[in-house]
């Protein structure tokens, strides 16, 4: 039991160190030209564009369900007119960016970790090095940057789609006037709300991509380890997002 605790602690510390080192390597390689534009574009397509349907559905259903729940819950107190305000605020400040990040962590983080892990096992990462090139430049940087660029955009999309989802349910189920709903939303939401939500997703992007690359690159051998790395990448980056969300939210309130 203590043995197991110790090995978990060991792995945790290794991860923290490895995360830091990888982040530093990415930063230092970014300073050296040339830049791999083509690889970045490929990853933007893979990470951003192809996550589109997933994020759309997640955001739409989140907005709809929240509106339904609040609508029914607040009806007892005659609070239905507050629904547009509450729903849109929670989406912009929390649900949009956080759910988007969690979904991307699952879809993209798993993909990255398993792809990189398989490349380690088949010695392709070694081959990149042996041919006088750098896996950080060729593999890690395009993925980290693409996530960094795409996640805030996906989060913004989720905000919009979530609010529209709320509007649909508000009008059809709660029988609220659409003009009233839109007026409430537009007068409530401030740019501040938007930035405090989407601002966090820049951090979440780093959590997701660096974590996935770390677990992929630290695969030693064997396909079994690739599966393990994939699971760890998703679990760890999800935890980082949830825990980080609390602290980042606090931080943004102070600023």
């Amino acid at each position: 039991m203590t043995q197991q605790l110790k090995s978990t602690l060991d792995r945790f510390l290794l991860f923290v160190g490895g995360f830091g080192i990888l982040l530093k390597q990415v930063a230092s390689e970014l300073l050296h030209p040339p830049f791999e534009w083509r690889l970045l574009m490929e990853q933007i397509y893979q990470i951003g564009f192809r996550s589109f349907p997933l994020i759309f559905i997640t955001a739409l259903s989140t907005g709809m369900v929240m509106t339904l729940q609040f609508g029914i819950g607040l009806a007892k107190f005659g609070g239905q007119p507050y629904v547009p305000k509450i729903v849109s605020l929670s989406i912009l400040r929390e649900m949009g960016p956080v759910f988007t990040s969690l979904m991307v962590a699952a879809r993209v983080g798993a993909g990255m970790a398993s792809e990189i892990g398989s490349m380690v096992v088949t010695q392709q990462i070694d081959a990149i090095r042996a041919l006088g090139t750098s896996p950080i430049r060729k593999i890690v940087i395009p993925r980290v940057l693409a996530t960094f660029i795409c996640l805030p955009l996906l989060g913004s999309l989720a905000n919009l789609v979530g609010v529209v989802g709320g509007l649909i349910v508000g009008v059809t189920e709660l029988k609220l006037d659409p003009e009233f709903y839109i007026l409430k939303v537009t007068t409530t939401l401030l740019l501040d709300d938007y930035f405090s939500g989407v601002g966090k997703s820049f951090f979440f992007a780093i959590f997701i991509s660096i974590t996935a690359c770390y677990f992929g690159l630290t695969v030693k051998e064997g396909t079994k380890e690739v599966g393990l790395a994939t699971t760890q990448a998703v679990v760890v980056s999800s935890i980082l997002i949830l825990v980080g969300d609390f602290f980042l939210t606090k931080l943004f309130f102070i600023l």
Binding site: Q123, Q124, A130, L131, G132, S134
Partner: protein, 241 residues
């Protein structure tokens, strides 16, 4: 010129190399034999810094590579090519793009020149029709040959061959050993890891035996062939491991 001195490497509690010393002259081809798991691949990988030495020195063209950073090693890796035991091809790229990779990274060749160079090389390796195939659809032997072609495409000074003929049919084995001889005629330095004694006798100037993490036994092919009781002859006959 490669000079290795008291090279040590261990993985966890497993001591793979316990102080290996040897040198390879410019233009020479050194054969390296030893049982499976004796550390031949680890030794080759260490020569280009893919594995970090625990202690000892590895001097290539006057530079000790054991202390180099990943960025400094790039220069060495352009001069010393490693042909991976399994090919290590990029499976998301076609054969053509695999071969073009080093050229696009390290040369200013025009795409048309790259094309011509790759076509010629593929023809030489008997792979003329596989340009547009992905590595997944090649046989093991074909992957190996593409890997070797990719390793030598930048015209390196030194080539480290990791079992280049294992798993090949006699015809392709013949082709590979001719290729190695041709590279040797161009004064390329080579280290050839192999279990294939006839090939080793044919292309190597000296042959070294790696046992128990040491590399003390080195002899010329003639000396080995004439002496049935030479340790390398005994190893080749499968009497010791």
């Amino acid at each position: 010129m490669i000079e290795v001195r008291r090279f040590k490497k261990r993985f966890g509690s497993k001591e793979v190399h316990r102080g290996v010393s040897f040198h390879v002259e410019q233009g020479e081809c050194l054969g390296l034999i030893g049982g499976s798991g004796s550390g031949k691949s680890v030794l080759l990988r260490s020569l280009i810094g893919l594995e970090k030495a625990d202690s000892g020195s590895i001097v290539i063209e006057g530079q000790d590579i054991t202390q180099m950073t990943e960025r400094e090693l790039i220069g060495i890796r352009k001069k010393v090519a490693y042909a991976f035991q399994g090919g290590a091809l990029f499976d998301s790229m076609t054969v053509f793009d695999n071969l073009a990779y080093p050229l696009r990274e390290h040369t200013d060749l025009k795409e048309s020149d790259i094309k011509k160079k790759i076509r010629d090389l593929l023809f030489e390796f008997g792979l003329a029709d596989s340009e547009n195939l992905f590595p997944g659809s090649l046989s093991g032997g074909m992957q190996k040959r593409v890997g070797l072609a990719r390793a030598i495409i930048l015209n390196p000074d030194t080539i480290l061959y990791d079992e280049p003929t294992a798993g090949l049919d006699p015809f392709n084995t013949r082709k590979i050993s001719e290729m190695i001889l041709r590279l040797k005629a161009k004064k390329k330095t080579g280290i050839l890891v192999t279990h294939d004694m006839p090939v080793a006798f044919e292309v190597c100037d000296r042959i070294a035996l790696l046992v128990h993490g040491n590399l003390d036994i080195i002899a010329k092919p003639k000396e080995i062939q004439q002496d049935a009781l030479h340790p390398i002859s005994i190893f080749a006959h499968g009497d010791i491991t």
